[in-house]
């Protein structure tokens, strides 16, 4: 056994150990955060927490209006953002491809993907809220939709690109018009991947606070009126966590636990049921 051989083997062992350590570190972070969430949030979770609305400190409130508001706004944002993003993705892969416009759109999309969400919120405030002179659930949804779109555009484009060209060509050869090829071949084949992207976007926007601060504001009362300020979980969590009242702080942790559970189950469901290799965004 030459020295070189031993050295190589040692380096290999070292590298593999470090890699395993890295894996462990990653898992430790995850476990620690989840543990803290459960430890601090569990005591506050009850039927009451989920089914009564927010109240003043000591008033024995819950999170119902915040949960409902978040649900409404996230859902609306997805309803608005997904079709738009699908069309943009379609343009990028099926029509524009390597044209200058397509390259510009791709570049801009990546920038939007990394833009701080507070700037998106401020933008909607300037062009919408200030013009109509009130905060609203709609404004919140628009801001969230602007966050959904870049994510879904990116995923859709990646998924559409994975569809082999010969599938498209086969459809064309059979006489199918372009729109049928897009709808019945490309979209159909990549639908699980696209859906994954949509669900990942949902997970992302469910926890966003900054874009809602100046658009949906928040609402301490029950309201399902999208044209009025709307309660939402992230803002309530933020306000309550920074307050001095123990019951509010408890609600903040419980709300945080609820959001995380929702987002994580969404992620798990996506991966387990659909079993495809989703690109992470």
């Amino acid at each position: 056994m030459s020295f070189l051989y031993i050295k190589r083997r040692l380096i290999n062992v070292l590298a593999c150990t470090l890699a395993s350590l890295a894996m462990l570190i990653g898992l430790i972070w995850l476990g620690w955060i989840l543990f803290s969430l459960v430890k601090n949030g569990m005591p506050g979770i009850s039927w009451h927490t989920i089914f009564s609305i927010t109240k003043s400190p000591g008033g024995g409130g819950g999170l119902l209006n915040a949960i409902a508001g978040s649900f409404l706004m996230v859902f609306t944002a997805v309803l608005i953002g997904t079709p738009i993003a699908l069309f943009v993705g379609t343009y990028l892969t099926e029509f524009g491809q390597q044209s200058r416009l397509a390259k510009a759109v791709r570049f801009v999309n990546d920038i939007l993907l990394s833009a701080p969400s507070i700037i998106i919120g401020l933008f909607i405030y300037q062009i919408y809220v200030m013009q109509v002179h009130h905060f609203s659930g709609w404004a919140g949804s628009f801001a969230l939709a602007l966050l959904v779109i870049p994510i879904v555009v990116r995923t859709t484009e990646d998924m559409f690109l994975l569809v082999p060209d010969n599938l498209r060509e086969a459809a064309f050869a059979l006489g199918a018009p372009r729109w049928k090829v897009i709808l019945h071949v490309v979209l159909r084949v990549s639908r699980t991947g696209v859906l994954t992207g949509i669900l990942l976007a949902v997970a992302r926007i469910s926890g966003e606070t900054a874009p809602l601060l100046f658009t949906a504001l928040n609402n301490q009362f029950w309201s399902a009126n999208m044209n009025q300020p709307m309660a939402n979980l992230p803002t309530v969590i933020f306000q309550y966590a920074m307050s001095p009242y123990v019951d509010w702080q408890q609600l903040a942790w419980s709300g945080a636990l609820l959001i995380t559970l929702f987002v994580l189950s969404l992620n798990i469901v996506v991966r387990v049921i659909f079993k495809q290799k989703p690109p992470i965004h």
């Binding site: 905060f135 301490q220 009362f221 399902a224 009025q228 306000q239």
Partner: protein, 347 residues
């Protein structure tokens, strides 16, 4: 299965959307974080009694001003009163609602609430970074009989803008020429020393954890977090503890004037029992109300708060305005908050 999930989502979505809209009115206010817990409690009570709901959101005093200027809320709230020039520029009116106090808190081994006394100048010097240790002669001179350790002082201030900072720095500016020149007063300043905590909670948590630290928080935070607060030596030379009584004493001696639209900053007020770092919180409304009916409802709410809301305020450690000031405020409403044809909208 997927279709079932989708239809469930759609059904719940539209069910939620179709819940009947509010029978009563909903009004929106936004701004200062200091009175937020109180306004929330008031709003709940008022809603129960009258069916009119007031949605108040604590986006910060600056935020409150911005929103009332843009007309996106029915009233704004600010911990810092505006000057006459600022009020004229945006055509707003302001009036106070309640009074509260800002309390310096410390974390010194063996020290409990009220054991240590500081004067305004010493406090300013600590925050200027001039006094660095707890057993500095300037501090020990004020505290005979109290053992102060030979350790560094860690100064904690706010990292975000806030009315609490405004009151605190305003006090320091009044008692220390050096502070006034070097730093000044505002909702956010350029701090010469120390670390910044986010929100009252952030400051409270740093003071709790860092030994030898000093910070400033709203009274409610000091109470709720069992922080050791200080006695302050006020303008009359008396050492006072922070309490509703001493806050009230500060506001009682205030010179509320309508010609400055109540822009009284209650720091360093005269009076043997006055807490030196007290302040009122203000409501901002448009002088000419675009919707006089809404404006009237808003004023009714605050009139209710001055009367029926008193008990709730004291419960939550806020000081209600004394009756003569309330009368002054309501007279002010009659004379200054008008509709488009220049007629008063209240009562």
């Amino acid at each position: 299965m997927k279709n079932k999930i989708l239809s469930f989502l759609l059904v719940s979505f539209f069910t939620l959307l179709s819940t009947p809209l509010f029978a009563g009115m909903t009004l929106i206010g936004a701004g200062a974080t200091f009175p937020y817990p109180l306004y929330t409690k008031w709003a709940e009570s008022y809603d129960k009694q009258t069916g009119v709901s007031f949605n108040y959101q604590p986006i910060g005093s600056g935020g409150g001003l911005k929103q009332i200027q843009n007309g996106t809320v029915d009233f704004g709230a600010s911990d810092k009163p505006l000057s006459m020039a600022e009020l004229k520029a945006s055509d707003l009116v302001q009036f106070p609602t309640v009074v509260g106090g800002v309390v310096p808190v410390v974390n010194i081994a063996g020290i409990t609430s009220g054991q240590v006394k500081l004067s305004g100048t010493v406090l300013a010097d600590i925050y200027l970074g001039k006094i660095k240790k707890w057993n500095d002669p300037k501090i020990t001179a004020l505290n005979p009989g109290v053992t102060l350790p030979d350790s560094m002082i860690t100064v904690v201030h706010r990292s975000d803008g806030s009315g609490t900072t405004f009151l605190f720095t305003d006090y320091l500016s009044k008692v220390s020429e050096g502070w006034k020149k070097q730093v000044g007063s505002d909702t956010a300043v350029s701090w010469p020393a120390g670390i910044g905590g986010k929100g009252n909670e952030g400051v409270a948590s740093y003071v709790q954890r860092v030994k030898g630290s000093i910070g400033y928080v709203e009274y409610a935070f000091a109470q709720q977090n069992n922080l050791a607060y200080l006695q302050m030596i006020n303008d009359s030379g008396q050492a006072v503890l922070p309490s509703l009584k001493t806050f009230e004493a500060a506001s009682a001696n205030a010179n509320w004037k309508t010609d400055t639209q109540f822009a009284e900053i209650l720091t360093n007020q005269p009076g043997a029992n006055s807490w030196p770092i007290a302040g009122a919180t203000f409501i901002l409304m448009k002088r000419i109300q675009p919707d006089p009916e809404k404006g009237r409802v808003v004023l009714n709410f605050f009139a209710w708060g001055y009367q029926d809301g008193k008990a709730l305020a004291t419960e939550m450690d806020y000081v209600p305005l004394p009756a003569p000031v309330v009368a002054l405020v309501q007279k002010f409403w009659k004379e200054n908050i008008l509709n488009k044809s220049d007629k008063p909208i209240w009562p």
